[in-house]
């Protein structure tokens, strides 16, 4: 695979990374073996005419919006939360999970005027509860969300659920699914036009693989 113009691709470290790298390889991108456990933040792959930026997932849409990366691979959960002005080109259908409301088993509305909800996704959570006509107080946490109901910081949480194991191990249950989540291919507004050939080329590569699945 070799796009005509060089593209800069923002890749999320963490949960999605392995599956995304696998998808790239199957799309014919000659990723070097050390790509997967590289500590470098910028990894050029000259054979594919691509430069990869390895970023924190929530920052991927930011890099792409500002145009320092032309395209990016990122979860829909991050896109919903960050609300960046980028093209969402393709559902890569990897890292499938859902964003859900969870709590202690037997959770009932407490009658409190503004029950607390802890989450890494304050925008998504606020929007969801507003649409449900529920007034809640959203508390932003940066990790170990499951802790919040256990120690009484909040009575419910909004978080990513894939197998449900983490919830179960912490004695929590999934109460409502907000929406299913998959990984997306995104593009910068200007790159989508100024480098349309290269972007289309990568899009088609991915699209053909995704359709095979």
């Amino acid at each position: 695979m070799n796009a005509k113009e060089k593209l800069i691709v923002a890749m999320p470290k963490g949960r999605i990374f392995e599956e995304a790298a696998d998808l790239l390889r199957r799309a014919g991108v000659p990723l070097p073996p050390e790509f997967d456990d590289s500590r470098k933040l910028i990894v050029p792959v000259p054979k594919a005419n691509l430069d990869f930026i390895l970023a924190k997932p929530t920052d991927v849409p930011t890099y792409v919006e500002y145009g320092v990366a032309d395209i990016g691979v990122v979860g829909k959960d991050v896109l919903l939360e960050e609300n960046r002005d980028v093209y969402e080109l393709l559902d890569l259908q990897i890292s499938r999970c859902r964003i859900s409301v969870a709590g202690l088993p037997g959770w009932r509305p407490s009658g409190s005027s503004a029950p607390r909800v802890a989450t890494k996704y304050p925008h998504v959570a606020s929007k969801y509860f507003r649409e449900q006509g529920q007034q809640v107080e959203v508390i932003k946490l940066n990790g170990s969300i499951e802790l919040a109901p256990l120690i009484g910081l909040a009575d419910r949480i909004v978080d990513i659920v894939s197998t449900g194991r983490t919830l179960k191990e912490n004695g929590l249950v999934e109460l409502e699914e907000i929406m299913p989540i998959t990984t997306r291919l995104i593009a910068n507004r200007v790159s989508y036009r100024m480098k349309s050939e290269a972007v289309d080329y990568i899009y088609e590569k991915f699209a053909s693989i995704v359709e095979e699945r």
Binding site: E88, L90, D91, R184, R189, V190, R193, M194, S196
Partner: protein, 389 residues
């Protein structure tokens, strides 16, 4: 909230230092000169406008307007763009002027922003409005002038993407019965969410051919050859009319010899209900944000009581500043050093140089000399003979 520190400014506001402003003024000069050559005359409008008039008519979303109360308790806005104010003037003070009116502006506009770099709440725009012409020639003129402006400003590599709202709406109407579904699909396009668009289209359970037509819409980007593909997925009516409109536009752009800068992009949507025909957006290489944008807005003028077609565009000065490499012209700047008893002579020398349009700085303060960066001066005239330079 704590009291602001002495150097802080309200969110999204900024200072412009001399080096940047010099470049900005040069760009303004280039752009304005170009617009003037195409017969556009400059107009000024107030910074504050009523929320109920300009605020409501503007394409800017309500939550991005800066709203204030005036002394009578009426809601006013800091102008969010220049198009609505110009429509107001064209319908009032200039209402007896024959159409089309060709007007240009350079002005700061205001939009409430979140706290982030590169998102200024006050930013300069340069633009034109051509009020009163419905012809495709006016659309072509706007696009060709945009090309010309970007060239005059020395933008090294740029492209203008051209879309047509009539094609988009016509096609959606042909395929989808329910208005609500059409609005929803338009929203996905507006948010550039093609995944959501495809997903929603799939959920509509359309006959297979129709679903494929919707997906094809997402691929309609390219040159003139794309118009045939576009025509192939439309049946008749509004969408076909739009394709013909674009074909005429392309012919006109060829006549202007600017087609190499233009690409068609039929899913381009810039605002949900503002533009009414051909619309466009310009991009420069290696810039994350668009550099200029505009299009036809035939329903705005009616809101000010003078229904007539119109088109125009605005250039974002901030994007232009980043896209352009500017070599500042080394101005002829002189420094005269003198003692108190030499003042008359120093002033005479300065006066003589200034009549030759040179910039002259004079100083007799010895303590200042030590801090002076003499290299910024073309010449230092030392009347004291003490400062060996």
């Amino acid at each position: 909230m704590s009291k602001p520190l002495g150097f802080e400014k309200p969110l999204g506001m900024r200072d412009i230092l001399p080096d940047v402003l010099e470049k900005q003024r040069w760009l303004e000069h280039q752009v304005k000169a170009c617009m003037k050559q195409w017969g556009y005359r400059e107009i000024g409008t107030p910074t504050l406008e009523y929320y109920d008039t300009v605020g409501g008519a503007s394409a800017t979303l309500d939550h991005k307007l800066f709203k204030l109360l005036d002394s009578e308790g009426k809601t006013v806005v800091l102008r969010p763009d220049m198009t609505a104010p110009i429509a107001r003037v064209a319908s009032s003070l200039l209402k007896e002027e024959p159409l089309p009116l060709r007007l240009m502006y350079t002005a700061n506009v205001f939009r409430a922003q979140k706290n982030e770099a590169g998102r200024n709440a006050e930013f300069p725009q340069l633009g034109i409005e051509c009020v009163g012409s419905s012809s495709v020639d006016a659309d072509a003129e706007a696009i060709a002038l945009a090309v010309s402006v970007l060239k005059e400003a020395d933008v090294p590599v740029f492209k203008i993407a051209v879309g047509h709202i009539g094609f988009l709406e016509g096609l959606l109407e042909e395929i989808i019965e329910e208005k609500e579904d059409r609005e929803k699909l338009k929203e996905f396009l507006y948010h550039r969410d093609y995944v959501g668009f495809r997903h929603y289209a799939k959920g509509l359970a359309l006959p297979e051919g129709n679903e494929a037509r919707l997906y094809e819409l997402l691929r309609l980007r390219g040159g003139k050859e794309l118009l045939e593909r576009a025509e192939a997925i439309t049946v008749n009516g509004q969408a076909r009319k739009a394709v013909n409109n674009l074909r005429e536009l392309w012919e006109a752009l060829e006549a202007y010899q600017v087609e190499e800068y233009v690409l068609l992009d039929l899913n381009l949507l810039r605002s949900l209900d503002y533009y009414t025909g051909i619309l466009f957006e310009g991009y420069a290489a290696n810039q994350g944000f668009s550099i200029c944008a505009g299009g036809r807005y035939d329903s705005l003028m009616a809101q000010f009581g003078r229904p007539c077609p119109a088109t125009g565009f605005a250039v974002q000065m901030d994007s232009l500043l980043e896209a352009v490499n500017y070599q500042p012209v080394q101005a002829n700047k002189f420094l005269i050093l003198y003692h108190a008893n030499q003042r008359t002579e120093a002033l005479a020398r300065a006066r003589a140089l200034r009549t030759e349009e040179k910039a002259v700085v004079i100083t007799q303060r010895k303590e200042e000399w030590a801090q002076t960066d003499f290299s910024q001066y073309t010449e230092v005239i030392d009347l004291t003979g003490e400062e060996a330079i």
